[in-house]
Symmetry: C2
Subunit: 145 residues, 2 copies
Amino acid sequence: MVAPHTPDPLLGLPGYALRRAANAMMSELAGLLAAIDLKISDASVLLLVQNRTDMTSSEIGKILDIQRANMVPLLARLETLGLIDRLPIDRKSQAIVLTQTGQTRLAQVQDITTRFEQDLMARIPAAHRPHFLPALHALTAKPAT
Amino acid sequence: MVAPHTPDPLLGLPGYALRRAANAMMSELAGLLAAIDLKISDASVLLLVQNRTDMTSSEIGKILDIQRANMVPLLARLETLGLIDRLPIDRKSQAIVLTQTGQTRLAQVQDITTRFEQDLMARIPAAHRPHFLPALHALTAKPAT
DNA sequence: TATTGTTATACTCTATAACTATA
DNA sequence: TATAGTTATAGAGTATAACAATA
């Protein structure tokens, strides 16, 4: 999915503009990560479990907003790729940890995402730039639900 | 999909924060629009074709970034709901226009979205607020691809 | 009793290829 | 030759229910 270059009368709506910006960002980042055979969700997991040996599948899912059931194929894929290992915590839970290969891949993820995030911010005019993350965080932290 | 209340170390990444904010916004808006039996894409089409009698399915798709093929079930649904009508432009193209029922439903969409967009902006601290839309537009308008 | 990991399944959204009829 | 509308289909991503084993 690529952003069109068609005039769009709905872009005045903040919610609509937010979705469009997120979609454009997601497809661009997905393209970059495809070069190292990872999806965005894969990369998120690698970034999340780095330097930790106590994160279970359920915890990862809660943080990344992925259902327990949907973590199964995701982690199975990372395991097949040799990027993660499972260490028993007790007889019920297991910690998801990076393998050596996983650490190497993580370094590539960090290269790509660091450069990408810098690129993203660079596209925002300097006057608006410092306000962007705080605004997003204000939207994500929803009021008393 | 609902936003979790779990600390999330990845929220420092602008791209990640952008996706999270967009997802939270989308699921909230989807919930509001469900009250009038519309999806976000349905509402987008109604908002887009208002006051126009010359928008074809293909054009709508280009603007909203929806494939021609995927417009078919979307418009079929709106037609079944009695919200749109198709007027022949020539023997190949047809204009998508609102029916009377469609105009009424559009008014409800505008009520919901106007209030929602105001709510969204109100959640952003005043100092950041005027910078939000310009920043999103800067991200959506991609550089020379 | 609640939670972890899992299976199975379904639904939505999106993407691609191909066809026809018309411009 | 290119475009509009369509069909069919496949792949993601996401959602729910249920189960066994364990806390």
